[in-house]
Symmetry: C2
Subunit: 275 residues, 2 copies
């Protein structure tokens, strides 16, 4: 078991993203530890003690993914007994040459709020999008669909809500979602009236019947709602409707919410409000 | 204006995180473009056309941050006229030597679902946490507080809901939130009864009065609720209560939701269910 440390004088989100990508290349049993906001020498020295203690306890050198703005704090961390990796080390100089600009490191520029750089606006647009997506969850508030960037459609438990919230939080996209329920005439499924005016904004979600059956069974085990037969029927009818109405859709069975969101962006050319 | 491309045969989320971190070092006007799921030679060649077209249009070499599993697709992209950066190039080999394991690249290992590696469980725990946080938003469902990993407390519009959802989506943490409202006796503010049993799970949020006034004014301009006086009074009383009850709290005025979430994790040692 290797101990992996993600360390930064900011959120450590970049160190985590970078470390996760690196580690994804190796089959390895690992224990993750994040040390965020290591912004003083005292804290950096505590971090070094933790690294060295993990080394002693496991007998294996911990792997350290770090991103520091402060060179002094970085020097303290790289003085630990861990094996240290910082991608900025390798790439800042070539990028600086290409751009013809010197690097100007500044704490929290990646994940923070810059009041003057317009990022406060971008940040506020994400919070606004989250509020919008919550207010427009599960078919409520259809009067506000004019403002939607996208409307996710699907039968119950196909991932509409987490996907809407992810699109809002991560990209600042106003994502409403609308459920197809048993109140709709499933034998003769039509696009709900409320959506007809907004057809160009609709994106469908679907799942494999087996997976939907598992998810619904956790909620209401043994119910008609969760039965394989009902799941298969609903998915078949809704997919028929997507095809008939030329609504783009995605089978999300094998995808994480990040992947579903990224696939929707790639397919719809939806404009994101935050990078 | 430089055009920046983030390109990958997966979600491109890693390329984006890596590129954003690199670019945060340079003061630069940029246009971002993400090309995700570039998973065939035809798509890679289209991507190259886009890069070359951006070069021609702007007269400046586009900057390309890419992460590919397929060496053949990567070769096509690096054949474009853009300036290409891949941190894996530099770091996979040293990490491989340190671990004593060969790299085994596999698409979508970073942000995808691995059925066998237990990541499906970790993924499901995030969706469960999102459902929990939604069901426990704004003081609803206090009967379920036994299951909460954390309960965020604060007056209206201090960021409780976006923070709860971020903790749930990103880390799989079950985050409830509870509002202090005018129904509470503000002159003599006590910890709400429903929370007394769960005191060890409570984390307070606060803001500077000016910022709260701005946020509330967008909602109900000119109201008593949005007035500077009311905002100042509510924040002062709630902070007094946090101190008296020894509830850890954070002034989130200058922080993004990522930073607030990371700071809460750093301060509480809350265990995350997803890395």
């Amino acid at each position: 078991m290797r101990t992996i440390f993600y360390i930064s004088d900011g959120t450590a989100l970049t160190a985590e993203a970078f470390g996760r990508a690196m580690l994804s290349m190796f089959p390895l049993k690992i224990e993750h530890k994040t040390l965020a906001f290591i912004d003083s020498e005292a804290k950096a020295e505590q971090a070094v003690s933790k690294i060295n203690a993990a080394h002693q306890a496991t007998g294996e050198r911990p792997i350290i993914f770090h991103t520091f703005v402060s060179l002094e704090l970085k020097r303290i961390i790289t003085g630990s007994s861990g094996s240290c990796y910082d991608f900025l080390d390798y790439l800042v100089e070539p990028l600086s040459r290409e751009l013809g600009i010197d690097a100007q490191p500044k704490t929290n520029r990646t994940h923070g709020i810059q009041e003057n750089g317009g990022i406060r606006d971008s940040y506020d647009s994400r919070i606004e999008a989250v509020n919008y997506s919550l207010a427009n969850d599960d078919g409520s508030n259809i009067a506000d669909y004019d403002q939607a960037d996208i409307i996710l459609l699907g039968v119950s438990r196909t991932g509409k809500t987490p996907t809407s919230l992810y699109l809002a939080l991560h990209y600042g996209i106003k994502a409403a979602n609308y459920p197809i329920t048993e109140d709709d005439d499933m034998e003769n499924l039509q696009l709900p009236k409320a959506l007809k005016l907004h057809r160009h904004k609709i994106f469908g979600l679907t799942l494999e019947p087996q997976r939907l059956h598992e998810i619904r069974s956790k909620r209401r085990e043994g119910s008609r709602y969760a039965s394989m037969q009902q799941c298969r029927f609903e998915l078949q009818e809704v997919e028929k409707m997507y095809r008939r109405e030329a609504i783009p859709f995605l089978d999300s069975t094998r995808f994480s919410v990040e992947e579903i969101a990224a696939k929707i962006l790639a397919e719809t050319n939806l404009e994101r409000h935050h990078y």
